[in-house]
């Protein structure tokens, strides 16, 4: 959502190298643009990268919009500044997985694959 792009691109490459098709939506998206892109692309999982406080502001809005969908798309969030407390809060509003700094590649790939296979 914010302007920090390096990690998102890195994750996208990692997922591609593990056989996934990644629609890279770029920076400065809003919950509306993310939801619309996800619907048009009929994705299995939405991945949000945020390295600033903005996820606290935008995630509840995105989750609320998604829950209105007939079949809600699972969401994972990655970010270097997500505290344990925020992680719990994200879980409470329905985020399927949260990846803080130091999360292993295998864990990220595994979680996303599991969500996609449902």
């Amino acid at each position: 959502m914010d302007q920090h792009e390096v990690a998102a691109v890195g994750i996208a490459k990692m997922l591609r190298d593990n056989g996934m098709e990644v629609i890279y939506a770029g920076c400065f998206n809003t919950p509306e643009t993310i939801l619309q892109a996800a619907i048009e692309e009929d994705v299995d999982v939405i991945g949000i990268s945020s390295h600033s406080w903005e996820y606290l502001y935008y995630m509840p809005e995105l989750m609320e919009m998604l829950q209105k969908e007939a079949s809600p798309i699972p969401v994972v969030v990655g970010g270097s500044v997500i505290t344990a407390k925020d992680k719990a809060a994200l879980g409470e509003i329905g985020v399927a997985a949260v990846f803080g700094s130091g999360t292993s590649d295998a864990k990220i790939i595994g979680s996303i694959q599991k969500l996609a296979d449902r």
Binding site: K13, R16, D17, E21, Y24, I39, E40, D42
Partner: protein, 317 residues
């Protein structure tokens, strides 16, 4: 399935997105859906945009979306990016350049991975075009990475094929000439602020004059060259004028265009039959060990490979 079609033909985004996925994943139900929606197609105008990586195809596509919307036309976009040959995965990034249209309800953008298909487009692209057509999009833009001969495939899909070029690549066209000249309807020289622009445009025009026609039917449309700066939306109205001229040309009774359309249709039909036959073959013989059995007999000298082949072929009916 009828509920899906009903929703789709009334323009429902989610139904269209789902059906494109079914087609892309080669699900058997997609065939029936396409069969049913076929009568609702052939209305949209299909524009192919291709050219080398970095030529500005996505940015130009975004400009075309903008102009189409100004002309009150709804737009569907299919953006094809290559799959990784190593992992089969892909990063599809064309949307980024078109993000400003995401919330426009009259614009539908879908990314497709090439999934190992060489030819600039995916096997599912034709089906996806029909979905967007049936959902009522006035203009469908198919953007593909063109490297070498791949442009030929996009020309089979599109009513108008736009090749995006950039100044300074002039002489490289020699290598791509055969492929490009057969398929280009319009040449765009993008990034036209570059000092080599005029030379490149002139070069493209001269190349066309020298081109010999191999199809046997006189080519009655000479691809115009349009200069644009897509990042500044410059030259887009000129491009649109040329697109409209080509549209008028295709609507007229051009033998050349009609024969191109028929050829494209024939190729698609052939592909369907080939695919069906090879599926039949797989389920009848390859899966049940019969081929291995016969191969063993042939290698041990007990059977004749030509006779076995003839017998198998006769059995596929």
């Amino acid at each position: 399935m009828n509920a899906l079609l009903e929703k789709l033909t009334s323009g429902d985004v989610r139904s269209a997105a789902r059906l494109i996925r079914m087609i892309d994943d080669n699900q058997p139900a997609a065939w029936d859906a396409l069969k049913q929606l076929f009568p609702h197609t052939r209305r949209a105008r299909v524009i192919g945009v291709t050219g080398p990586p970095g030529a500005g195809k996505s940015t130009l596509t975004s400009c075309l979306i903008e102009s189409a919307r100004q002309r009150s036309m709804s737009v569907g976009v299919l953006a094809v990016d290559p799959s990784s040959p190593m992992s089969g995965g892909a990063i599809l990034g064309d949307r980024i350049r078109m993000n400003r249209h995401t919330l426009d309800e009259e614009v539908f953008i879908r990314s497709l991975a090439s999934r190992g298909h060489f030819g600039g487009i995916t096997p599912a692209t034709r089906g996806a075009i029909r979905v967007l057509d049936a959902m009522g999009k006035d203009v469908i833009i198919v953007e593909t990475v063109g490297v070498g001969q791949d442009e030929v495939d996009i020309a089979r899909l599109a009513d108008t094929t736009v090749i995006v070029w950039v100044p300074g690549l002039g002489d490289d066209i020699q290598a791509m000439k055969a492929g490009i000249l057969e398929v280009a309807d319009i040449f765009v020289v993008n990034k036209a602020e570059h000092p080599d622009t005029e030379a490149t445009s002139n070069y493209l025009r001269s190349v066309f004059k020298q081109e010999k026609n191999t199809s046997g039917i006189p080519r009655d449309w000479m691809p115009p060259v349009v200069e644009t700066v897509a990042t500044k939306s410059k030259g887009i109205d000129d491009l649109w004028d040329v697109l409209d001229r080509h549209r008028e040309y295709t609507a007229g009774a051009s033998d050349y265009f009609v024969s191109r359309k028929r050829k494209a249709c024939r190729v698609e039909l052939e592909n369907f039959v080939h695919q069906g036959l090879s599926e039949k073959f797989s389920t009848r013989f390859a899966a049940n060990g019969l081929l291995d059995e016969q191969a063993a007999l042939i290698t041990s000298g007990e059977a004749d490979i030509y006779a076995v082949a003839e017998r198998l072929l006769a059995e596929i009916r």
